[in-house]
């Protein structure tokens, strides 16, 4: 893909796979846990983090803290099934982003990065 920025002599290209962000609840080959009344560990953590810091932090920082919540705050509780009891989980963030992603309010100047 080629984008033109004002002066037609100043064009640059972007890979077609750039700017994708895939946030998996767990790493490949591993189980993803869900509580039957409170929802999955990943979605509980994602919603809590977005509610707490969604407008303040950039997307990758938010997802780092989502990972922290899932990794630290959760442990499976299945005493009836000992082999599944007290298991842990870590999400998996695959990022192809090329910029800082912020859900900032209109008119607010985002924190400076490479522009």
């Amino acid at each position: 893909r080629t984008e033109t920025d004002g002066d037609s002599t100043m064009s640059y290209k972007i890979p077609i796979h750039a700017d994708f962000l895939i946030a998996y609840s767990t790493i490949p080959g591993f189980y993803s846990w869900r509580n039957t009344t409170r929802g999955s560990w990943f979605m509980q953590s994602l919603c809590a983090e977005l509610a707490a810091n969604g407008k303040r932090l950039d997307m990758l920082t938010l997802l780092t803290f989502v990972c922290q919540r899932v990794a630290v705050d959760f442990e499976s509780c299945t005493p009836d099934t000992p082999e599944m009891h007290q298991q842990k989980q870590i999400p998996c963030i695959t990022t192809m982003l090329t910029r800082i992603l912020l859900f900032s309010d209109k008119g607010k100047v985002p924190a400076a990065g490479r522009n």
């Binding site: 993803s32 869900r34 509580n35 009344t37 409170r38 509780c77 599944m84």
Partner: protein
């Protein structure tokens, strides 16, 4: 180690003589495993050992307890040595039973779920 007498709800209730948080019902706290540490507004659960303080208006004892200790055996309705003042009153206040499930133990839900 915690004092063993705190397995008794009536003993837990006795710790709240100098309870400094008027908007939080100490009966509910004691019922759900919490005794007052007499340190600021910090309470501690005899069953999962979580400590919670800095209460704010609107905080709910049970949901806050579950938030910081999602696997508390008392709240998850696991067998404990709790001696309640009224088993019926406790049953009415505890969250519904929940299960942690992932791909391999989905059958747990089919066996127990009465939706």
């Amino acid at each position: 180690r915690m004092n063993e007498k705190y397995q008794r709800e009536d003993e837990r209730l006795k710790t709240y003589t100098n309870w400094p948080v008027p908007f939080l019902d100490c009966h509910t706290l004691a019922k759900t495993g919490m005794y007052f540490t007499n340190e600021d507004d910090k309470v501690k659960c005899y069953f999962c050992e979580v400590e919670i303080g800095r209460w704010e208006p609107g905080d709910q004892p049970v949901s806050e307890h579950l938030r910081w200790s999602p696997n508390c055996p008392l709240l998850r309705r696991r067998p404990t040595n709790n001696i309640p003042i009224s088993a019926e009153a406790l049953d009415a206040i505890l969250p519904p039973i929940s299960y942690d499930i992932c791909g391999s133990n989905n059958s747990v839900l089919e066996v127990h779920d009465t939706a």
